[in-house]
Symmetry: C2
Subunit: 195 residues, 2 copies
């Protein structure tokens, strides 16, 4: 990228390149800030990919007309729903992250953005973990019953979908640590950057 | 309490009343810091109480010699284990919190304490939520089977134990928000206090 080096902005939503707060920011600090934003983007992409994969895997578990279906089981419905929500949310956050890296400004106002990110990261991480744990418990119960004897492929694919959901949760959890740190920076210093 | 007003300390583990960093701290700031510590203590007490209650409830589900027992079910074993761990951890954190309020110093060195608290809060909150979600999924499966028809009291008591565990998780989640904020303060300002 040959764009000019980005500076941290307090209220970047109105002008893409406002006057920086700290005109003498060292290039080391700028590099660190940029690395922080790229790290968030990587976590968003990973959590989007894994939750979307989990969603698709669970949706395509049915084998033939008599096969059991995911919507016959409460916990699997929860897995599908939670992964769909997280995939959509991560897609939005990916766009927001790219926007922030390319324009140096948040999509919403800074205060709204940091709280929006952190709040949703926390709630959706707990939601996804809860859904996947419930799915695991159900999958374990099914293992000892006729369903998995007659339809082994269904059970294996459900297991894979749940495992993918757990990986998606891991990346969402990492994102929530970083967005939590940005909230704390905002509370303490009035800016989402700590450098 | 008639003890002298406490000041925030950076490395309070060596001397109980070291020279404060900011001798001109306003009484408003001190009151806010103390309120923050009391809030953490309240959350610790609540999460201890609910996870201990959940543990005891799940342990006492058996009714008579032929009744099903919690250790016959994977997910209920997980609920018992997770609640026991959280109850023990919360008990330790209660003591640490009282120590900090009364002496103005952390039990371990400050850097260790803030990371210890936050790391364990995060991991145990996820563990407890995961266990309770798995327990809920199993309880729902049991509802439609002979176990709950023959031993209704067992199922009801297991439900109550899981619900208590969820409330314990809520308070542990709140604690993890506060301890996360202390970690961020420590990273940004080199002290667990932001005032």
């Amino acid at each position: 990228m040959h764009s000019p080096p980005q500076q941290p902005h307090r209220n970047g939503e109105t002008t893409p390149y406002p006057i920086p707060n700290h005109p003498f920011h060292s290039t080391v600090s700028l590099r660190k800030l940029r690395r922080f934003n790229y790290l968030i983007l990587v976590f968003r992409i990973a959590s989007f990919s894994f939750s979307l994969a989990s969603f698709i895997f669970m949706l395509s578990t049915s084998r033939g007309p008599n096969s059991p279906r995911w919507y016959h089981f409460d916990a699997f419905r929860l897995v599908v729903g939670a992964n769909a929500i997280v995939a959509l949310y991560s897609l939005f956050e990916m766009v927001a992250s790219v926007w922030e890296i390319s324009r140096g400004a948040t999509v919403f106002s800074e205060v709204l953005q940091v709280w929006f990110d952190f709040g949703h990261d926390q709630v959706f991480a707990y939601l996804l973990l809860s859904a996947d744990s419930a799915g695991t418990a159900l999958a374990r119960v099914l293992k000892g019953r006729d369903t998995c004897t007659a339809w082994n492929a269904f059970c294996i694919q459900a297991d894979v979908a749940i495992a993918l959901g757990f990986i998606g949760f891991l990346f969402l959890g990492f994102s929530s640590l970083l967005s939590g740190f940005r909230v704390a920076c905002f509370i303490i210093k009035g800016s989402r950057f700590h450098l």
